[in-house]
Subunit: 212 residues, 2 copies
DNA sequence: GAGATGTAGATATTTTTATATCCATATAAT
DNA sequence: ATTATATGGATATAAAAATATCTACATCTC
């Protein structure tokens, strides 16, 4: 029995469902509710109750046998599991339309992310503030990453620029990249890349339309 | 042996991978290449060659036994499967930051989507053009949907407004909704909703960071 | 207090998806 | 021509995920 026995390898799908639970639980918590059951969560999220039960079980959310799950405790369990209970300092590279949209999304504070800087190469963007976040020139990446101790990069540059920026980020010691460019990034082992591909969702929608 | 035997029920994951193949194939096609193998695609996309082989097999992409897959034919097969070989007229509701970013994304033309109208309620947005697309008031939804024979809705409104707009869209006969609001939409059977949840990807990234 | 009810917990089963293995064959090198 | 090689095709295996089933128990109703 090792210290690593805790690692039950929670499935990716489970992880992707957690934010959905969180949203509903936040809502209910705001109304002063204290307990919620899998079946109630199922009604709200349209996810089968058995799946919810297993997901919450997997991350060790505290529950009461008959009464369901404690809302406050479940929120804490999810936040803790995702590391959303304390803020990671992040920055954004590529302050174009999408970048600006992300900078304007206030919800990240609830998601463990605090975007404290933005970078771009366009002269008309550099030096401005977008939604309260200063835009630096990309040339300053290294110094500011070190200075502000930034950990997570949000990449919203055009596809052709993505790999070049990534190489710079890796050289700066960044270990986590949230990539919105439609490019598969090559990174050394130990660097986590989360690919956000808008086309995948559209493909799903279109395929569903065609077969229907 | 029915006529429906063709329906091999292609997996969602396969569908979500198709756009990745497409991007690489477009690129190679642009260079005048004619043949590509699973292993080559695997190198470029970092997807295991066996998966690629099965995916392309599943949608019936034409191939040559030894030489690999015909790039042109594979592109056609994917485009045809996804219905991306002819444009669907779409519109966008919610011309905020994210909406504007999507309107500025020219790539949709390659993805079977042509956004020909936008809607919003803010007086300062209504009447403007964003990236060449006119912004109408949401009150005009019904008439313009019918007038322009629009089929697909892209929903980029704030969460609280999403369900209300959805009800209107359903009443207008819209059958496909691409939803970027972090809300699970309730729709009648027969209406396809594709949920785009940015928090899921972030959760994946954070969980990956924590367990590493 | 007794029983009905709905819940989490644990386990088992099924389904889906990914991965591996072997084979026939077209191509390229010799 | 001959051989080596890399590929798609087909099948089999493994892994992952979803779903079902059963049990024990806390709460509620009467």
């Amino acid at each position: 029995m090792s210290l690593f026995s805790k690692k039950k390898s929670i499935s990716v799908q489970t992880i992707r469902r957690l934010p959905q639970y969180l949203r509903v639980l936040y809502d209910w918590h705001g109304y002063g509710r204290e307990l919620a059951s899998s079946t109630e969560l199922a009604q709200e999220t349209q996810i089968p109750p058995i799946v919810i039960k297993k997901d919450l079980q997997a991350i060790g959310a505290p529950s009461k046998m008959r009464a369901g799950f404690k809302i406050k405790g479940t929120i804490s369990a999810i936040e803790n599991f995702l590391g959303w209970d304390n803020l990671n300092k992040a920055f954004l590279v590529g302050a174009g339309h999408l970048g600006a949209a992300l900078l304007g999304f206030s919800g990240f504070k609830n998601h463990g992310l605090e975007i404290v800087a933005a970078f771009d190469t366009h002269p008309e963007r550099v030096g401005n503030e977008i939604h309260g976040v200063h835009v630096y020139h990309t040339a300053q990446l290294k110094s500011i990453i070190e200075d502000k101790k930034l950990k997570i990069a949000v990449l919203t540059v055009p596809g052709p620029a993505a790999q070049g920026i990534t190489d710079t980020l890796v050289a700066c010691g960044i270990k986590a990249i949230w990539n919105f460019a439609p490019v598969k990034l090559a990174v050394p082992k130990g660097v986590v890349v989360q690919q956000e591909d808008i086309a995948s969702g559209l493909a799903e929608l279109c395929a569903c339309l065609k077969t229907k």
